[in-house]
């Protein structure tokens, strides 16, 4: 067995390096950790394992504790994503949100599944998983765009945000149920889930009010208990632990989600310890040789994801009267979905639904759909919508600012 502390130091060292890269290049830590995981796997395979016999079995190896920390990271991250829902907006806009969100989910889900099956000739189950993994959107990206443009306060902006939750809910439900064997266990899981999801919004505030607010962090233990218990039930039923985690986050968004102090403490736990293990592990399974062997596959999947997402999302963006370029840009930004994309792909790999090569293509596509719009935005995107006005103003500005001798002033 490998030296646990040395292995742990290696992982945390990689997490530290990933965080530094994220800071330097202003990219999300998740993206940085996936890339670092992929590169580290190559380096470790060649040097550390080959030369020194360290980290046998690769970066992730067969160590249960890494799998546990990574899995917990995915669960808590999904919970936090669900807890960001605004229930008031959701209740007011659920009808519009459902239409847009379901379109945003089904467009790329069905489209990418068809492309994987009929163009790439993947078997049907890997194709479905590919569709699920590439169907996600990123609520955070959309929210960021909305905040930048001030649309977050408009009725339509709120509906779009709520739609993003529906889109991701579609992904999580599809992941949790499509690959489930549908036995009596599935029925038990669904019934218990419904009971828990209905009870938690009432039970949680009462419980926190009665026993919470102590240094013993009862709230965190309470949440982790339900996340693990429901995750355990989901896995027992052949489903995926992130499905109940997202649902628990959503049903507690109005109570726990508003407790900023608690959410912050959970974030510290998540970013400081859990998610680095999750994202680095997800990156470590990406096979660079597989990607290099068939780059066209990656291009096809990336094209399919962008195309079908655009078909579903672009009409919604056009309502805001964006011109073609800006509309395309925002649509492209809405096509990112690192968290649920990698969770879905990793689920497929762990359950032998997809091969490591297919996993690599899916994660590669997820990363590409995150990186390419970012690169375009950073390198080429300019505030062109301000340009005509700016150029006119610049001439006027040159007249305003003229140096004159102090005596005259």
């Amino acid at each position: 067995m490998a030296n646990t502390w040395a292995l742990c130091a290696l992982w945390v060292g990689l997490a530290l390096a990933a965080t530094l890269l994220a800071i330097w290049f202003k990219i999300s830590t998740a993206l940085s950790e996936i890339v670092v995981g992929t590169v580290a796997q190559l380096v470790i395979g060649v040097f550390l394992t080959g030369l020194f016999g360290f980290a046998q079995g690769g970066l992730a190896g067969n160590t249960q504790w890494i799998t546990f920390l990574a899995g917990t990271g995915a669960i808590v991250l999904t919970f936090l994503a669900g807890a960001e829902l605004d229930p008031v907006i959701f209740k007011a806009k659920w009808r519009e949100a459902s239409i847009i969100g379901l379109a945003g989910f089904f467009g790329p889900f069905l489209g990418c599944t068809a492309i994987a099956h009929y163009v790439l000739h993947w078997a049907i189950m890997p194709s479905w998983l590919c569709g699920v993994a590439l169907s996600t959107t990123s609520v955070a990206v959309v929210y960021a765009v909305m905040l930048e443009l001030g649309f977050n306060v408009t009725e339509y902006g709120k509906a779009i945000l709520a739609a993003c939750f529906i889109n991701d809910l579609g992904t999580v439900i599809a992941l949790g149920l499509i690959f489930s064997p549908f036995t009596i266990k599935t029925l038990i899981f669904v019934v218990v889930s419904i009971v828990v999801f209905v009870a938690l919004p009432f039970l949680t505030p009462w419980f926190f009010k009665k026993y919470g607010g102590r240094v013993s962090e009862l709230e965190a233990k309470y949440l982790l208990f339900f996340l693990f218990a429901m995750g355990g039930l989901a896995v027992w039923a052949g489903s995926e632990a992130v499905l109940p985690a997202y649902m628990i986050g959503m049903v507690l968004a109005g109570t726990v989600g508003k407790d900023h102090s608690l959410i912050r403490r959970l974030r510290t736990l998540t970013f400081g310890l859990l998610t680095p293990f999750y994202f680095i592990r997800a990156g470590s399974f990406v096979s660079v040789p597989a990607l290099m062997a068939a780059p066209v596959t990656l291009l096809v999947l990336f094209g399919a994801k962008s195309l079908f997402k655009a078909i579903a999302v672009y009409p919604a963006v056009r309502v805001h009267k964006y011109d073609g370029k800006a509309g395309a840009y925002y649509t492209l930004m809405m096509s990112t979905g690192l968290t649920f994309g990698t969770i879905s792909a990793l689920f497929g790999l762990n359950h032998q639904i997809i091969t490591q090569a297919q996993y690599s293509y899916i994660v590669g596509t997820v990363i590409a759909s995150a990186v390419i719009p970012t690169m375009i935005a950073n390198s080429f995107f300019l505030p062109r919508h301000l340009l005509p006005h700016s150029q006119a103003g610049k001439k006027a500005g040159q007249e305003i600012m003229r140096p004159v001798p102090a005596e005259e002033g």
Partner: protein
């Protein structure tokens, strides 16, 4: 001939990111606003990680809001002492775009910002905010070194 002064400057916009360069730019802007009786606008831009991921994005947003609000407390005091009308704003997005947008909105007479020294790689990957503002702003821009 004495030091040059600029006429017609009524609204000065300072881009503030809490760096030493931005602090220096702020000092210059405060001094200019005091001399010219101009209104001072300070904008701080929170740049989300790209691509924004749910939990991290909200953490960055909250952290940025708190950090800049803290920075604005002594600034307000300084402005009050100098009898300068001050307006602060915290926004989210690409710094250059948000600075230009704010300058347009308030019809700024001058933008003052600090220049951060970036490596060639950094500039190629992310671009320089001051260069972008210089290129696209509708009003004069002062880069304080």
């Amino acid at each position: 001939m004495g030091s040059p002064v600029f006429v017609g400057i009524q609204r000065i916009l300072v881009a503030f990111d809490a760096s030493p360069h931005a602090e220096h730019a702020l000092d210059v802007a405060l001094s200019m606003a005091g001399d010219m009786k101009a209104k001072l606008f300070v904008i701080s831009v929170i740049r989300p990680p790209e691509p924004a991921e749910s939990a991290e994005f909200h953490a960055v947003l909250e952290d940025g809001q708190e950090r800049y609000e803290k920075c604005f407390i002594p600034l307000r005091e300084r402005a009050k002492q100098k009898d300068i009308e001050l307006e602060t704003d915290i926004v989210l997005g690409h710094p250059a775009e948000q600075i230009i947008h704010k300058a347009d909105t308030i019809q700024a007479s001058l933008i003052v910002m600090g220049k951060r020294s970036h490596t060639i790689l950094h500039r190629w990957m992310l671009g320089s905010n001051s260069e972008r503002v210089l290129r696209y702003a509708h009003c004069p821009v002062m880069i304080v070194h």
